[in-house]
């Protein structure tokens, strides 16, 4: 049931997001504050990303986990690296902060529950191999 609701929410989201786009100028305070990304250009146009990001990462997740295909283009890790980069004071948002985390800000606004970050890291972290793997390396 809950799952079904998620899908309903997704539909509502799509409708909601597309409806809201032309309204930005008038209804600024109603809009979620979407944190700026680090990079210049996303892997697809904003329009496409808004509509299809869930498809992209769904597809990628199966390729990566089940087949070991690790292309960076639609990698969730990359999304987070760019969209939730540390600010100049080196602070990063946690998924639970409804305004500051890129994913949360919009998903809270449109009331779509996501469970990606029950497992996935919600902020970037440098992966470094530990040659001697001692704690603290």
């Amino acid at each position: 049931m809950v799952f079904f609701c998620k899908y309903m929410h997704k539909l509502v989201t799509l409708a909601g997001v597309s409806l809201l786009l032309p309204l930005t100028s008038q209804a600024v305070d109603l809009m979620p504050v979407i944190p700026k990304a680090k990079g210049q250009q996303c892997v697809e146009s904003t329009d496409k990303m808004r509509r299809n990001h869930m498809e992209y990462i769904l597809h990628q997740r199966n390729d990566t986990l089940r087949k070991g295909i690790r292309t960076p283009k639609y990698s969730l890790k990359k999304c987070i690296e760019c969209h939730n980069a540390p600010d100049k004071d080196n602070r990063v948002a946690h998924i639970s902060s409804k305004q500051d985390h890129f994913c949360s800000s919009c998903h809270t606004y449109v009331a779509v529950k996501i469970d990606c970050f029950e497992c996935h890291a919600d902020k970037p972290k440098k992966t470094q191999y530990h040659p001697t793997s001692r704690e603290g390396h």
């Binding site: 049931m1 809950v2 799952f3 079904f4």
Partner: protein, 400 residues
């Protein structure tokens, strides 16, 4: 002999509402417990990485196999064409579906990710007994629903025997499937046995019939309708046979296990050294679930007394829960045999007997499922015409 009339129970007495109220409270408590578990994660339960299935699974498996057994009366009437059982076939079918729904609810709510149920319903790994069971359970509900429809709809009556046949075979598969969940686990000493599946079938016959007799007697008693001794007698006799069969299978299971040296450890654990599990086995399964009810059913002084018969049925149910506790939890408490002939120690509790202390939440979830089944039955007999208005001996054809 009069024609049988099916009538709703009146269901306006204080007693009836009290029953609904109490069951409703237990269901609500179970629901809250499930929410609590989902919100916090399973750390609020006594289950852990050593005992991965706990009390909820005891209740769920019990209800699921009892569901198949509750269909006995309907099966006997349609498959074996015994007219005396016919009038109660409807109740039997409804009870069966209600028990299954209760059991499945518990099973689903105990999942780590209950809201991914849709995944379990859409992605099937056909090598998995569990996945097969999803199909068996859903199919069972569908098959019995058709069966009920054929029985209730006059024009379809003539087909009800065929539906009854289908339901009969389906439920045998269902219990075999449930038993195989354990039987196919090669890793664990206590489970790796082909006898698990037939044993579950026999257990289901016994538990299901016990619940049926209780529900039947309670419905007739509380609605002040007549229920003849012959009908009750017929069913308790059958129950006696099933109880004896369960005892026989239990004996065979342990004897064959004892024959294999490799299994001596786990057998000694269950039969002699297991503390709680040993007590549950001897006192729960053998005494309360087996010998005592057999005595009550066959001893002339108690055999006719409805109170004693109820007591016997309750004992069968308690014994059944104890049996499943020993099988499911006792089977996990005993360590995996990875390194024969060695004492095994590790930070992950290898080697030792594992402890399990259930918390209130998981017990409430289990009892909630049971109450859910019963409340559904209570509503069904009030809303639908399921219960024959008079089951006095004179009304029932005694010659079949």
């Amino acid at each position: 002999m009069k024609a049988i009339r099916y009538l709703q129970i009146e269901g306006r007495s204080v007693g009836y509402y009290a029953l609904l109220g109490i069951l409703g409270l237990i269901v609500a408590a179970g629901g809250l417990a499930a929410l609590y578990m989902e919100h916090n994660g399973h750390y609020v339960t006594g289950m852990n990485n050593q005992i991965v299935w706990g009390i909820p699974h005891v209740f769920a498996v019990f209800l699921i196999i009892a569901a198949s057994g509750a269909l006995n009366v309907a099966s006997i009437s349609s498959v074996f064409n015994k007219k005396a059982y016919k009038p109660l076939a409807l109740l039997s079918a409804f009870l069966s579906v209600c028990l299954l729904l209760g059991g499945l609810t518990v099973l689903v709510l105990d999942l780590g990710q209950p809201d991914r149920l849709i995944i379990a319903m859409t992605l099937y790994n056909f090598k998995s007994i569990f996945a097969w069971n999803m199909i068996l359970y859903n199919g069972f509900i569908a098959v019995v629903a058709v069966y009920i429809w054929f029985m209730m709809e006059k024009r379809m009556n003539k087909y009800s025997r065929y539906a009854g046949f289908t339901a009969f075979f389906w439920r045998l598969m269902l219990t075999t499937g449930t038993g195989s969940i354990f039987g196919f686990i090669v890793a664990r000493q206590a489970y790796d046995a082909a006898i698990m599946a037939p044993m579950f079938v026999i257990m289901s016959l016994s538990y299901g019939l016990a619940i049926f007799i209780l529900v039947m007697m309670a419905s007739y008693h509380w609605s002040e309708r007549e229920l003849g001794d012959a009908t009750v007698r017929r069913m308790t006799n059958l129950l006696g046979v099933f109880i004896a069969a369960v005892l026989y299978f239990t004996l065979t299971y342990h004897l064959t296990n004892l024959y294999v040296t490799e299994n001596h450890g786990v057998e000694a654990f269950i039969l002699r050294d297991g503390g709680l599990y040993t007590q549950l086995f001897w006192i729960g399964t053998i005494l309360i679930g087996g010998l005592l009810p057999l005595f009550l059913i066959y001893f002339p002084a108690t055999a006719k007394n409805r109170k004693m018969i109820s007591a016997a049925c309750v004992m069968v149910i308690l014994g059944g829960l104890a049996t499943l506790y020993v099988i499911i939890i006792g089977g996990q408490a005993y360590p995996l045999e990875m390194f024969p002939g060695k004492i095994v120690e590790s930070s992950f509790f290898d080697g030792g007997i594992k402890a399990y202390t259930p918390t209130l939440a998981e017990i409430l979830l289990g009892t909630g499922g049971f109450a859910l089944s019963l409340i559904m039955v209570a509503l069904v007999v009030k809303i639908l015409r399921v219960l024959p208005d008079n089951m006095a001996d004179a009304n029932v054809d005694p010659h079949y």
